[in-house]
Structures are given as C-alpha cells and as structure tokens.
Amino acid sequence: MEFLSDIASLINSTLRISTPLVFAAMAGIFAERSGVIDFSLEGKMLMAAFVAAVGSYYLGNPWLGLLLAIIVCVCLSMLHGFASVTHKGDQVVSCVAINILIIGLTTALAAAWFGQAGLTPTLNEDQRFLEIHLPFADALRDIPVIGTLYSDILSGHYVFVYLAYLSVPLVFWIVFKTSFGLRLRAVGENPSAVDTAGINVFTMRYKALAINGVLIAFAGAHLSTAVNANFFREMSAGRGYLALAAMIFGKWHPKTALIACLLFGFTDALQIRLQGVELPAIGEIPVQLIQALPYILTVVLLAGFVGKAIAPNAIGQPYIKER
C-alpha cells in the first residue's frame, strides 16, 4: 500500500511539474510552426511570473494578474516579431536579447519596488490560485485503485494543471484540423507559396506569435501565483529551454511534445525524491548530480533520439517579399 501511494504521489508531482513545460512547448509549436524560432520562451515565462505575482499582489485577484501577464507576454512576442519578422533581424539574437533583458529587468524592478533580495511579497490566499478538489474526492478516497486514481492523482491540482492538459488536444485541433492551422504550417514550410495564394505571411507570423504569448503567460503565472506564492530571481530555471527541447524531441507535434514534457516532469519529480536517499550498491548520489539530471537529460534527448528532427522548412529565415 505504501508503495502504491508513493507511485501516486510521484505521478501527481509529475503532472504538476510538467505543467509549465506543456504550456511552453505548445507556445513554442505555434511560433516555430510559423517559421519563427523562439528561444525567448524562457524570458517570457520569467516575465509572466513576475507580472502575474506583482499584478495579483496589487489588484488582489490572481485572474487579473494572469490577464496582465498575458498582455505583457503578447507584447514581448510582438517585440520579437517586430525585430525578426518586420525588420528581418536575426531571430536567435532577438531571443537572447529578450531573455537577458528579462532576467535583468524582473530582478531589478523587484529589488527596486520590494527591497534588495529581488523577491515579490508573499501572496495571501485571495491573491493566488488554490488547489482544486474535485467533487467527491474525499468520499471516494478509500476505494482501492479508483480512489487513488481519482482522489490522489486527478484531484487536488491547480487550475493551470487541468488547463495545460486540455490545451494539448486544442492545439492539435487548431494546428492540424483548421484552415488557420494549415496556413500556419504552410507559412513555416514554404512562405512564398502561401504569399502567392494571397495570404499575408507577416500577419500569419504575428498571429502565431500572439497565441504563443498567451500560452506562455499561463506557464509563468503557474510558477508565481500557484505553486509558489511569490516571484523570485530567475525562477524559470531553464524551463523554457527544456520545453523547447521537448518540442524538438516531439518533432513540433503537440502529442509527442506532451510525452517529452511528461518525461522531463517525471525526471524532476524523481530527482526531488532521490535527494538524500541511499541507493543500494551506489550509496548516496551527490545532490548536484541529481539536480543536473533534467539538463543532462535534455542534452541526451537532443543528441540521442532526435537524429534528424525535421524542423519546419523555413524556420529561422526572415521572409523577404520579392519586388
């Protein structure tokens, strides 16, 4: 029984930890399918975390904080578009600029407004998202298997967890089953053909980036107003890059990207459990090695299994309309 509840709590934390990765990977799919590289997921997630925390602290409502985060992230996506779509600047440079700018700006403003440590004030219960307990969760807990499944794994998550997993089929439907999705993919594969068909390449890319901004805002808000009750310095901790690796590993496809995100989440959940545990024959694993596991896994996934990942054909290239 002990073993079963261990597994249940491991799955539970996997679902929770994967949530920001899933949002970020879905955001990445929109940008990259339209032909715009987006390494700036990391920076946008951090900015969303900061804005959501500060917003709900002052406005007293986490939903308003989320709304502000969405607005700011869409603006950042537009900035990326302005540099790399309109002005045909280098897309990677634009992303690196946004990431470094946000690391500096969030911490500098948190320090200027709330004191030197670069933390935002702790949010109270009204200002943050709380865990949602599904109906009858307590009543069903004692039933074997179903009880564990329903009460310990499915119930008791933040709203973002449910939204993240709902977003995956939605993204799949938009990208692969609608005419908007067809155009989106075509713009990333062969922009000049799309242009010939009378569709504005630039508008399509801006639309994709706008959706990207909305999705990534959820990831940041999840970090600072749900699992944590404040913003702290560099709290995104590379999750934007992990999500991007998951997306590439998932071959720019929502379903496979989801699996890769869950794999990252599982590794992370496992690393928290492994800390300080004596393993038979090996002894205690150094805590630094365990903490580096998600990063090592990223490199291994990118190197080992992807092989020839087929990126959208026109990715990274600014579209130049012929005169």
């Binding site: 440079v93 634009s94 470094i100 700018l101 690391i103 500098a108 670069g118 890059y241 580096a292 990223t298």
Partner: protein, 373 residues
C-alpha cells in the same frame, strides 16, 4: 520603411560601421534611462555616477580596465563562433570550467619557474574551456542538436559540477564557504599596484593585472586567425553558406568543432584573469555573468576585434560605474545593468536594421549632393 533601397556600394564604411552602431547604442541607453526612471531614480544622476566611478579616480579606472579584460575574452569567444554561424551562449560555463583548468595546473605545477607555470596555466584554461565547448560542437555537427540549447544546458551542468567539486572535492577544508585554497603567492600574476609606482601614482589595491596584455594579444590572435589564415576563411565560408562550402571541399564538421573549441578556449581565459590574477582561488559562481555580457560585447563590436575592444571598454565603464551607482542609489541593483545588456543586444543585434536604411540613404544623398555641387 523597407521601401528604401540603398546602393550598398555607395555607403561609406564609417556610416555602416560607426554611425549606425552609435545610433543603436544611443537608443539602447535611452530605453535604459527609462528603466532607471521606472525604478525610481534619476537617470542623469546615474550617468554622472557612472562617469565618475569609471574615470573619476585612478583606482576606479583600474577596475574599468579589469572588467574590460574579462569582456574582451568573452566577447571574442562569442564572435569567433558567430563567424561560423554558431551561437555559443555557453561562455559562462566554459569560463567556469576554464577556471578549473587554471587552478589545477597552477596548484599542481607551482614548483616550476614563474613564466613557465603562467604559460601552462593559460594553456590549461584554454584547454578546459575548449573541452567544455567540444561536446555541444560535436552534437551540433553530427546530431543536429541546436547549439543554443546544448550550450545553455552545459552552463547549468558546469554550475552543478563546479559546486559539487567545490563542496566535496577541492574545497579548502579549513573554511566553511565553498572555495578552494589560495594559490602560492609566488605564482600570482603581478597586479597593477606593482607598476603603479613607475607611472608615478600610488594605489592601494587594484584587480587589474598582467592578463590585460593577454587580452590585447588575444584580439590580435583572433584577427589574424579569422581574417588572415586559410582556416579562418574556411570557417567563415561554412558560416556564410554551408552548401557552397561543401562544394568547395570544406568540411563543415571540422570547422564547427574548431570554431567552438577556440571560442570555448577564449572564454576559458577569463579564468586566468579571475584566478591567477585576482582572487587566486576558485569561488563558487566566479564567472558572474561575464559570459553572457560577451554576447552583447561581440554584437556591439560587430564581431570584429577592432569593434570588440571599444565595446568591451564600454561595458567595463558600465560595470565599474554601475557598481558606483548601486552603492549610491538604493533602488538600483546590478541586475539593472543586466537589463541594459539585453537592450544593447536587442538594438545592436536584432534591431540593427531599424534605422539603417534611413541613415544610409541620408548620407548617400548628402554625399551625392556634394559631388554634384
């Protein structure tokens, strides 16, 4: 906006290489001023403090040059890889591991006569930094793993690895803090204090040391390597057009590996300045963001040693003057200057074409008028 067509051959070199970068820099600094204002301080006062802090007194100026040294290394590191179209944003991790190289060589070979142990330590720094860049380079060229993600991951891994070593393996066991023992004093690189007497000034302490000359030498080294050797040509060919390079018989794999290793090695040299020159021990997190600043330095200096030198100096001013600002203005922390770096990368890298057509056509028209008159 994009309708302006400028005949590139008619644009004088100083317009595209001096005027346009200066306009972009000015824009970045104006937006930075706005951020300082949002943080609740007076931007003009901040500028005054920066200028005083970096030029106002001899010790401050020595600090400015010390920071310049670090930025030359990391700026060159980014630039070399960039000429092969590789985004080495792992300068931070490569510098960290480079520091390990300096320390291991210096502590184990400290019985050797002084200039030899210095040379070997410099070599150690280069080798360790290059080795840390080798794996992402290999994965990029053989497996197509994007070098931006892998180098970032290697920054995280380097940080974990070094903390592990500093806590469990090479920690100074007499201390609680995670740092190593100090190197023997005989092999420290002479600092600026030793020379200041000759120049007729007296200062108590300065981190500026002989590594500054190594940095200047690296500028020449990179210029020669990239623009004057066959390998430099091949590397730029791969960066410019991989397909054409393959048809010309140039191996992209070989050039990607070499470019990344030289890049990592240059980043590793930062360890020489920090460990052989200044702190004489490895402290946790000593690269302190210099690796990332290198990206801004290189992009502002248009990836050329002649541009990187003034760009590194400018960042030296920002860092040293910035510490004066953080001391005097409680609302400004050093992270504000990280944001400034981001803005400089944005305006002189990604948005470098924002006003370029307008500026270039303005000068071309004016020069035409002078010719016709």
């Amino acid at each position: 906006m994009s309708n302006i067509v400028v005949d590139k051959s008619k644009v004088p070199w100083w317009v595209s290489n001096v005027i346009v970068p200066l306009v972009n820099l000015t824009l970045a600094l104006l937006v930075s001023g706005l951020f300082v204002f949002i943080a609740g301080e007076n931007p003009i006062e901040a500028v005054k403090l920066i200028i005083y802090g970096s030029f106002g007194y001899i010790q401050g100026f020595a600090y400015t040059l010390y920071y310049t040294t670090n930025f030359i290394f990391t700026g060159l590191a980014f630039a070399v890889a960039f000429h092969c179209r590789l985004f080495n944003i792992g300068g931070e991790g490569q510098a960290y591991i480079g520091g390990l190289g300096v320390f291991l060589v210096a502590i184990n070979l400290s019985f050797l006569p002084v200039p030899i142990v210095w040379l070997l330590a410099i070599f150690g720094a280069f080798l360790f930094g290059a080795a840390w860049a080798y794996i992402p380079a290999y994965l990029q060229s053989k497996r197509g793993s994007h070098v931006v993600i892998t180098t970032i991951m290697f920054n995280f891994i380097a940080s974990s690895l070094m903390i592990f070593l500093l806590v469990d393996v090479i920690r100074d066991t007499n201390q609680m803090a995670p740092h190593t023992v100090k190197l023997p004093e005989e092999i420290w690189l002479p600092s600026f204090e030793a020379f200041s007497g000759i120049l007729g000034v007296k200062i108590r302490y300065s981190p500026l040391n002989l590594t500054f000359l190594l940095a200047i030498a690296s500028l020449f080294f990179v210029w020669f390597l990239v623009w004057k050797t066959k390998w430099g040509y091949e590397m730029r060919a791969v960066g410019h057009n991989t397909q054409a390079a393959i048809y010309a018989g140039i191996s992209p794999h070989k050039n990607i590996i070499i470019a990344m290793c030289i890049s990592g090695g240059l980043a590793g040299l930062l360890g020489v300045n920090e460990i052989l020159g200044v702190s004489h021990k490895i402290q946790a997190g000593f690269p302190a963001g210099y690796g990332f600043t290198g990206i801004a330095v290189a992009l502002m200096g248009r990836n050329h040693p002649i541009g990187i030198l003034p760009a590194a100096f400018l960042f030296g001013i920002l860092y040293q003057g910035g510490s004066e600002v953080t001391f005097e203005m409680p609302n400004i922390t050093r992270y504000m200057f990280v944001a400034v770096q981001g803005l400089i990368i944005l305006f002189s890298g990604a948005l470098e074409n924002l006003f370029r057509p307008q500026i270039e056509s303005f000068f071309v028209r004016r020069l035409n008028r002078e010719v016709n008159a």
